[in-house]
Symmetry: C2
Subunit: 193 residues, 2 copies
Amino acid sequence: MESTKKRILDEAVAAFAARGYEAVGVQDLCEASGITKPTLYYHFGSKAGLLSALFEERFGGFNACVRAASAYPGPRRGDLAGILLSTMTAFVDAARDDPDFARVRLASSFCPPSSDPYRVARPHLEALYAAVVDAFEAAAVDHGNMAGRALPYAASFIGASDAYVGLYLAGDLDPDAGFLRRAVHYFMHGIFS
Amino acid sequence: MESTKKRILDEAVAAFAARGYEAVGVQDLCEASGITKPTLYYHFGSKAGLLSALFEERFGGFNACVRAASAYPGPRRGDLAGILLSTMTAFVDAARDDPDFARVRLASSFCPPSSDPYRVARPHLEALYAAVVDAFEAAAVDHGNMAGRALPYAASFIGASDAYVGLYLAGDLDPDAGFLRRAVHYFMHGIFS
DNA sequence: TCGATCATATACCGTTCGGTATATTCCTTC
DNA sequence: GAAGGAATATACCGAACGGTATATGATCGA
């Protein structure tokens, strides 16, 4: 059944968030899901395959949200402040909706290059960066002095957003609408403004 | 000998950077260091003890550099731009000097809460944040409209710096002096400036 | 009702895990 | 040169690892 796969994925993201991919055994996941190992291997083929399916579902969904929120051309063209706000809000809302996956995603952003999480997460991480880079490149058409700086802008924007998410997950920060509005304002106009 | 400990630590940081703490076996480290397991356990007591010694040495040194670079009161009082520049430069220089530890440090910044790396890294991560928060709080004395915002400023500053370090380690960015000067300028005065 | 296919379980594989009881070598100090 | 501690090695522990060969229910079209 499809519900079995879903249950396994739910238990997996919770376990990976709490203890990390490498530290979680396949046996643990099976017991938590109320199944046995052959069932897990029937559905996902391997432990890395399970992680891949998890990322396909959740990282794909997250990236779709970010890309939708950061789309610069079209009806919102010119409203860079609004676009950055909705993009950063997408980061935070995703963490509120699915804190376990947010933890796994953050951990994957700096995971070691010779590891399953790196191989599995890399295309999704690149897609996330590409979405934000595209937004800054599109904005540079209307703001000439931003030209050629899309990558550093995207890095600092994603870095800051993920830092907020990390603090939120740790309970050290509540990034409400006002906080995000101010954060975007600083990003665009500097910390003195 | 002291050199044995040093050799083990050097091999450990390289292995953890490449494959991650959990994925590296004690046996691997012993073979890479040319010793046997009882020797490692004689010096460090446990695998977590080894990680702790590693962080004590390298994370402590990194934090000392950051705190020195970000000290706001004293002779440089008022020169916030210079302080932020030297602080971000400390991040990047540390990554150039010791890329393996930089990888391990980045990985530790979002590692799962029920893991050895989290327990071991947490005090150092808090010390790093505290150093940068202190700098922004001190600066708020001279820049009134920054008051009460030290934590979000520190988060976005550290988040952006670590994002640059991550891109540097991946070979996607060369954060030279000019890059850092511009990055600090955007941080202080916004991306349009 | 008969195969066939999907989905699941029992029981097991060899390997590696972190860690240790014990013995030995080396270096220093008296 | 004897004593003693510091540093190292041999050989082993039980447990857990990821993964699988094989068998069994369930479901369903012919």
